[in-house]
């Protein structure tokens, strides 16, 4: 794929200019900066920056993602996801660390796997207490 890098190498990554339209899968082991238009998947092992002039129609996944342009598709950030004031996201997002700045538009479902695990653990912790509480009530009755 375009932007392919040998594992472990670090370079400037891929830069998609504002005068570029791409269709297909864009994948890079390094950073990706998008100023232009992409219809398809965008994958990076490091970061993806969707600037103000950019439009992406398709899923995005990277460790760190910053959106200042428009994204029509799901976003998965294993690290941080930031939707900047000019950012528009239409699609589901999954992130460990989320920041949506004032002025940003986000229409979709949000899930935070770490948070969900925490909630599940809390519920699990609370369940025996509830059960023991219920047991006492039963005894009284």
């Amino acid at each position: 794929m375009i932007g392919d890098k040998r594992p472990g190498t670090s370079g400037p990554g891929t830069v998609v200019g504002a005068n570029v339209k791409l269709v297909g899968t864009l994948q890079d082991a390094s950073d990706i900066i998008v100023h232009g238009r992409i219809e398809g998947e965008v994958i990076s092992s490091q970061s993806i920056s969707v600037t103000e002039t950019a439009y992406i129609k398709g899923p995005i996944s990277a460790e760190v993602i910053a959106v200042a342009g428009k994204v029509n598709g799901s976003i998965t950030a294993t690290g941080k996801l930031e939707i900047l004031p000019t950012g528009k996201v239409f699609g589901s997002i999954t992130s460990k660390d989320l920041s949506i700045r004032s002025g940003a538009i986000f229409v979709g479902k949000c899930s935070m796997p770490e948070g969900e695990k925490e909630v599940a653990a809390e519920e699990k912790e609370a369940a025996p207490k509830e059960a023991s509480k219920g047991g006492a009530d039963y005894e009284v009755e």
Partner: protein, 251 residues
């Protein structure tokens, strides 16, 4: 053992070549020296060197000469074990930096001490190789389509630069703004937001201009192909002599 291919000796070049020959003689690595002419092209001379059984072909001259020799060495099956040495005209070039030489003497010394390194080349189909840079350039911005595996793209650019390792830089000068805006930026020391340049890498890429326009592809200021064109990265296809200093640098 050494086969030196030089540019036609004219003016300053002749003086320079004499100096090189003297240094090579002093180092004890003087060999057969040939110069290209109307009767014998660089490609023919390179082929001749291979046929004669030389194991080291040395390009003494500019990037155009080096790229022509490389094309023969990379395409001829019998040249598989032939090693390339370079004494370039300019020492601030990418090629000189690649082989870590700084002047004529260091270039000649590198040949004597022979540290070999396998290098990547780019090929322009069907059979043109280059080690320096290729340029797809038009006098005005033009829509160009490119494709690679499962990615297709359209770019409006007047300049596409292709570097070894198939690193691709595209730029559209017309989108930099008009003269007043450039002057304004210069006056207030503002750096323009460069959002119209692109950079990416590939292993194989095809460029095709809109309406099948034939935009020239230049290597060392020489037109070697026209769009549509396919350019490919070939890894470790040629052994080149680099300076021993490079070992220290790498360590």
């Amino acid at each position: 053992m050494y086969y030196y291919i030089m540019e036609p000796p004219k003016g300053k070049i002749a003086t320079r070549q004499e100096k090189i020959k003297d240094i090579l003689g002093d180092l004890g690595i003087a060999g057969e020296t040939v110069s290209s002419s109307a009767a014998r092209t660089i490609e023919e001379l390179t082929h001749l060197g291979i046929v004669k059984g030389y194991s080291t072909v040395v390009a003494v001259g500019g990037e155009a000469l080096v790229n022509k020799i490389i094309t023969v060495l990379a395409t001829e099956k019998t040249a598989k074990d032939v090693v390339l040495g370079v004494i370039p005209n300019e020492f601030d070039s990418i090629l000189a930096r690649k082989i870590n030489i700084h002047d004529i003497r260091s270039a000649c010394s590198a040949l004597k001490f022979r540290r070999l390194e396998s290098i990547d080349l780019c090929s322009i189909e069907p059979n043109r190789y280059f080690i320096t840079e290729a340029l797809i350039e038009n006098n005005r911005n033009y829509p160009i389509y490119f494709s690679k595996d499962n990615l297709q793209g359209k770019i409006t650019a007047d300049r596409i630069l292709i570097k070894p390792g198939l690193e691709i830089f595209t730029h559209d000068r017309s989108l930099e703004g008009n003269t007043p805006s450039k002057f304004y930026r210069w006056l207030f020391g503002k750096k323009p937001d460069d959002i119209f340049s692109s950079y990416f890498t590939a292993k194989k890429i095809r460029f095709e201009a809109e309406n099948n326009a034939a935009i020239p592809v230049k290597v060392s200021d020489e037109v070697v192909a026209k769009t549509p064109v396919t350019i490919q990265s070939r890894s470790k296809v040629l052994k080149i002599i680099v300076a021993r200093d490079k070992i220290k640098e790498e360590n």
